[in-house]
């Protein structure tokens, strides 16, 4: 399954009031290309921090469902976050991790032990109450819906193809701090 297909499946299932927090790298590329209407914050660097950032946002905004779209490279950088999140157990947080077994934006290098890591086993072992794993579009369609229908915390591991994800030609017109301010304004305007 191409990552753009996985991102489209997410977009088609989100509620307009959902808030997306998107980890860096090829997952962020795929989500940007969807041009989804939901308020989205791109976690950018520091790498490895998106799960903790999403947890903080979920705690601060219990009135909104927070959907973390994550890459496996980012998640692998700080697996302890799976324990921290399971301990906090925010009912409004959902995590979908796109697995391509590579540091795509960094040049396509393999993750350590690529292809033999089970994120659902890691999450279940950390105490996540629900996990799912999708290897193709049909499974992903069903399990994205299941993830979003949950009453509480859940993690969905979605296997996607390895595809080139070269750096864009420039950094874009706005800084992270400017994007952060726009996101916060959008979040408060929607209240």
């Amino acid at each position: 399954m191409r990552r753009s297909v996985a991102a489209k499946l997410v977009r088609e299932r989100l509620d307009p009031k959902d808030v997306v927090l998107c980890g860096l790298g090829s997952t962020a590329r795929a989500w940007r290309e969807e041009k989804a209407p939901q308020a989205t914050y791109y976690a950018s660097d520091p790498m490895g921090m998106a799960p903790a950032l999403a947890l903080g946002l979920a705690l601060a905004r219990p009135d909104r469902r927070i959907v973390l779209l994550e890459g496996d490279g980012d998640l692998a950088m700080n697996l302890g976050a799976l324990i921290t999140i399971a301990g906090a157990a925010p009912a409004n947080l959902r995590l979908a991790v796109f697995i391509n077994d590579r540091y795509e934006t960094g040049g396509g290098q393999a993750l350590p032990n690529a292809g033999r890591i089970s994120y659902v086993t890691l999450a279940a072992g950390a105490g996540w109450p629900w996990t799912g794993e999708a290897h193709d579009e049909k499974q992903a369609a069903r399990l994205f819906s299941a993830l979003l229908d949950l009453p509480g915390l859940g993690l969905l591991a979605v296997h996607v193809d390895a595809e080139p994800s070269p750096y864009p030609p420039d950094a874009g017109p706005t800084s992270q701090a400017e994007d952060r301010a726009v996101f916060q304004r959008r979040l408060s305007d929607a209240d």
């Binding site: 947890l55 903080g56 302890g80």
Partner: protein, 174 residues
């Protein structure tokens, strides 16, 4: 020097509450035990236990992103570990929060293995351009509340380094 662990924790948490802090992330140190216990028993503060201090940095940054004031409570080793996260949220995202870090490895400490932390903490924070203040005695606890305001105005994390005396007073602790 005055107070004891419980009384000092009460005053520190009072400062957090007056500053509007609603979310706390923590990773323990023996000198922090009374403070963390007091925070965990405070119904107005949502307390999250973390596995690494930079998780706490991310949680506090995420809370700020969502419009809440948050504090990370940890040892100064956690500041060293979290250098990249602190710098990223200070200068790249520009998100404010407070860090209360126990200042191990200084004149009050009795352990060889703590000393390196005391020797490098302040230079590292200076290099990261993270504002920090040192609370030597509980009588200076007002700095906690003021540091939250400073962080909010400066749009960056602010660190308050707490000496043993400020946390525990005259009480004995390892």
């Amino acid at each position: 020097m005055s107070g004891d662990g419980e009384a000092n924790a009460e005053r520190i948490v009072g400062g957090l509450l007056r500053a509007g802090v609603e979310i706390a992330a923590s990773l323990p140190d023996s000198w922090l035990s009374p403070l963390i216990e007091r925070i965990s028993n405070e119904p107005r503060i949502k307390h999250i236990r973390v596995t690494r201090e930079d998780d706490g940095v991310g949680i506090c940054a995420g809370a700020a992103l969502g419009g809440k004031r948050a504090v990370l409570v940890c040892q100064n080793a956690g500041l060293l570990l979290s250098a990249n996260a602190l710098a990223g949220y200070a200068h790249h995202h520009q998100l404010p929060f407070l860090v209360l870090a126990v200042y191990r490895g200084s004149y009050e400490d009795r352990f060889y293995y703590q000393m390196y932390k005391g020797q490098v903490t302040e230079p590292v924070l200076e290099a990261l351009r993270i504002p920090f203040h040192i609370v030597d005695r509980i009588e200076d606890v007002a700095i906690v509340e003021e540091a939250v305001r400073e962080a909010t105005l400066a749009r960056k994390p602010v660190v308050v380094l707490l000496r043993r005396a400020a946390l525990l007073g005259d009480a004995k602790a390892s």
